[in-house]
Amino acid sequence: MTVRPIAETEILLLRDELPPDELRAALAAHGEDAVALLDAWEGQDRALGRLYGADMDEPLPDRYRSLLASGRLHSIGPVATRLQGLRLLAAVLALLSLGAVLGWSIAHPSRPAPLGVDFAAGAIDAHRIFSAEVAHPVEVAADQGVHLATWLTNRLGQPVTPPDLTKQGLRLLGGRVLPGRDGSTAVQMMYQSPQGARLTLYLARQPAIGDTDFQILSSGSLVSLFWRDGSLGCAITASLPVAVLERVAADVYRQLE
């Protein structure tokens, strides 16, 4: 009886399809070399499992945990609902979970993509670094008035006037230029409440154009409310109640128009 040789690639394909015992029986018909090859492969798999088969219950490092926590991103119902006069899409999207938003964006691929978590994370990082500054919270102070606006406009490459948030009880301290996450230029404007709480407005130009829903990202006690307005990504960040941020966001949105 002659045995038909079988190619290794063919055995690999069979191994993908057949349960182990059927595979072994099938290979037996092709001679002992085919079976020996299978034995060798199984030996390889066992060795790889013993070498690299790490403990799957090993706790995740804290840095992964905090990333996951910051990824728990929500669209915000109440805020967006109150702002619906301002935003065409807000009311529709606000009530949807991100999962539903994903489904929606699959069905409507032309809709501008929401800003990534990365954008808000950049705003939060910048807030954390500079709002803690006592001596130099800003690069150019608000009392330089026109100069501040001109400077920010030149650096951002887009007209921008720091919004006046005195109605919200926030006084403009000034602004600074900083690198955006993707190598672009970002600007940060800092405001302060009479109690000393600081709020930052972070702006960076975005490659895509379009308006999006408000999104919210929190990290520790900091909350960032962010959205895309035309070619600008905007984020306001503070360690303040969300209700306060809502009002500020509405004011900022109106003034940036």
């Binding site: 290794e8 690639t9 070498l51 992964y64 990534g116």
Partner: protein, 169 residues
Amino acid sequence: MRPLLDEIETAIPPLRRYARALLRDADLADDLVQDCLERTLDRLPTLRAEGSIRAWMFRILLNLARDGRRRRAQLHFLPLSEAPQLAASGGQEDHLELERVHAAMGRLPDDQRAALLLVALEGMSLAKAAEVLDIPVGTLVSRLARARAALREMTGRPRKQPLLREVIK
């Protein structure tokens, strides 16, 4: 939303295991998984639902590993690594055998090691592994055949006589 993030979290232990086997350095591997996690979360809002998140994350991880390798190659940096800590069971001979396999894995070309680990360690089907690697199943199969043959030769147990080998396009 929650199920998506839960799915991401569940994928992390296998990604770490895979990254460690791929890079052969636990610290580099954990950094790679962190980059992968960041990129995954960052792209989540624009995710088009195709296939599983886990496969998507493996794909991101492999792309990042490839970029990282390019950077390291420019620096002429080759990580030397010790064999991972082995379970206490098994005798000395067994241990030597495993060390041979570990050394041989390190000498496999990167694309072969990446492919073999997806199937042999992660237990992925050919279709799933091909999706992760973004190559046709036929290409994957010939890559796996080369990897397994090379591994056998390097661990000192060449086949008695060559079997017919065939290249699938």
